[in-house]
Symmetry: C3
Subunit: 336 residues, 3 copies
């Protein structure tokens, strides 16, 4: 379903320069773009390339407005954001016109849904899923093929639960949460007590997991429930593939955690923190608001990292400038 | 199902101080505890807080016996262990009184169970599982929704196999083994032979995987079968989420391996070893009895780490005192 | 099904020394080998042990030809490769004689296969799989229990898709590709745009994933689709368990990536690269042809590593000799 640039400009609040009757149906990167595609340029140095491409139109910053190209432009203060929104908006326009994949009611014949589960309007439950007792699922949520939703899970509206996800009993999930294939939510934490013979007995893992609105969780990530209390993932936080979050962690809002990072137990990650990939954080550590921690960085148990906008790196993590000095000193030493 | 403190004290061998007719039904941490809950205090400095909480009773060490509180106490030489056991005991009391979720026989109508599989008494096979040919499953074991049990797998009694677990053909699993959602047991190891053209051909991965009694394996962990011989996980060993164990590894008893640690092939981990998170160990290395290795530590191929109770850290791993000296020296150097 | 050494020697192009009428049925390592088994010796120092074993015959290099043992030998310039091929050949001989597990047609009654999916001859679709609309699957491919194949996935001939694998819509897979249990192919990449309020909005993840012929992917690995363009895994590349490959990565041919390694976005890995376990590579980095990078090594964003056959190690990765000098210098410093 193609839309005119005029419509798109209005929907997204961008300024149209050029022929608004041109229509596009999707987004692309510059090189392979077709006349059906929108592309974007955030940096002036790529503008010429975009204008010479086959794209139907270019989303760009104010720097492009004066260009003499005949290609239509959508001018925005934040071209990448406008591009992301255009992609979503175009997709939504298409979906509205398309018949839904599953009839209303939306439960595939091979899904096993408990009679005590309550599904909101427009919920789609695909083939081979299991939805256990007393589950509540909000309006318009998708439970994709093969997912298992444990008893008493509560899930909000507009979520997308991809194939093979497992949600342990009692987990609470907000609105518009996306969980990619194979992720495990609410599993037992890793806690044992050693007895007199040196054998490990399981410490109770009977807490719960709460995931707030607009969280996205990557494929095969694992997030443990609390031991006695709760594990919590704050609103808008984005978690990449194969990340591990241990029991009792409290992760704030708008946190970004890249792939394969691991948080052991009882860690606090405050709002707006950015963790690179393969970061490891020890028990009871706290990463304060706005801290950034580079890939493979390590934080010792009980440690506090502070400093809004301060980048840390290394193991044990230190401010990146300090760490780079150490690396430079070591390099000199290695050459002696 | 609530139980009196008198019953609990007798069941767990704790000494009751105070009113034994008080009843509790579960466990909690101190702050949110209700009068229905048991809490515990292992360190005297938290005793006052526990005594002032709403908890029904407090499990504590001998240090609490002289307290003048009216709150009932269960005195134990190892309060955390007693607390863990109380949690399990209370849960067991409840389960005995509750009807089982599935009828005896216990195979859900949507499970696909081979006619040649043999299931012990009380085995529960949930919805959408697959149990292949000649599988043997011991008494009381749970195969949760969506798990796939390959042909000729032998599994003991009282195991809990959580949703979406895959067990490759021929794997042997002991009694009371817990495997969390999404874990993969017995997959092919990573072994190839390079031919004259530089292409990799698969080396046979036809060995097996043996998991002994009382092992727990975390969500989305992966444990490969032996190439020609076996991979073995010893009794009582606990493996956290997203851990990788390569082919031919032999892991001893009562070993603890934290999340995201990876063992490449043919490694020996002796009894009682503790590996932190994100540790990486090279082929043919040996970690001797009782060694502890800190998070993100790395061990080179063929290396042997020795020393009961000795903590190692860093890559390549060295005794932690030595490593800390190096870190300190480097920090000084970075400041010059 | 046992075969004579004469037949095996002919099939594999090895030189028979001794009694060619001896028959074997499989392969084993030396110690547990039975008279039914072939074993191999690549290094002369293990020859005596192999000759004294119970194995039916020994595959060995030219060095063994002069041995005075009465045990039959298969002499090969590359004994390990000949052994791997013998294992596969013996298995194929057996399979030919055995009835297939599933009837021709090969779709289990509990599989959910879209009427618009096209399955080649001999395709086996096991229990509880989901094969969505317009999927194409080539001749002889196996879709094992519980796998989910999204709409418009194209898959070649002779692939093995193990249980619980998820393949997102639109993914293209070549011939003879092996994907182990729980792996996720074609999931959304990790890309967001921050809005004026500091909230993250999803950048479109609408590209695709292409996996070429003869690739093997380990259990619970995750490989993201391109954001706008494609992610590509080249012919013959082998990827171990729990590896993460981010969006837009281009991995060449005959690359080996060990367990738990993570590639963030838009990385180029050229042909013949070997990455150890737990390696982490930053965005837009390039690892040039034939480079080797040791376990836990880290490469910064935009960095280029060059040098056919050169080994790198450490974070940030440097030539291993240089890195070892730094480690040695640091060790000396720590002792002062």
């Amino acid at each position: 379903m193609k839309r005119s640039l005029k419509e798109i400009a209005e929907a997204l609040g961008a300024r149209l320069v050029g022929d608004g009757s041109v229509t596009v149906g999707g987004v692309a990167s510059i090189a392979p773009a077709s006349p059906d595609d929108l592309v974007f340029v955030a940096d002036e140095k790529y503008l010429a390339q975009a204008l010479q491409s086959s794209a139907g139109a270019v989303i760009a910053g104010e720097f492009a407005a004066a260009s003499s190209s005949s290609k239509p432009l959508l001018i925005s203060a934040h071209p990448k954001l406008t591009f992301a929104r255009a992609a979503r908006w175009l997709q939504e326009q298409s979906s509205e016109k398309m018949p839904p994949k599953v009839n209303s009611g939306g439960v595939h014949a091979t899904a096993v849904v408990s009679p005590s589960a309550r599904l909101g309007a427009g919920v789609v439950v695909e083939a081979r899923t299991v939805v256990a007792d007393r589950v509540e699922i909000g309006e318009g949520t998708l439970i994709a093929a093969g997912a298992v939703v444990g008893s008493e899970v509560k899930m909000g509206r507009g979520c997308r639960i991809y194939p093979q996800v497992t949600i342990y009993p009692g987990t609470t999930i907000g609105d518009r949460v996306i969980v990619h294939a194979g992720a495990v939510l609410g599993s037992d934490g890793f806690g044992y007590v050693r007895d007199r013979d040196g054998r490990y007995e399981k410490f109770p893992q009977v807490g719960r997991l709460v995931i707030e609105d607009d969280v996205e969780i990557g494929a095969n990530a694992t997030i443990d429930r609390g031991a006695l209390d709760e594990t919590r993932i704050g609103r808008g936080t984005k978690i990449d593939n194969l990340v591990h979050v241990g029991h009792n962690c409290h992760i704030g809002e708008d946190v970004v955690i890249a792939a394969q990072t691991g948080l052991s137990g009882s860690i606090v990650i405050e709002n707006g923190v950015v963790l690179g990939g393969q970061v490891g954080i020890g028990e009871h550590a706290r990463i304060c608001e706005g801290v950034m921690l580079g890939g493979q960085g390590g934080v010792l148990p009980n440690k506090v990292l502070r400093g809004k906008g301060v980048a840390f790196w290394g193991t044990p993590a230190k401010p990146v400038r300090e760490y780079l000095k150490q690396l430079a000193a070591l390099a000199r030493l290695g050459k002696k």
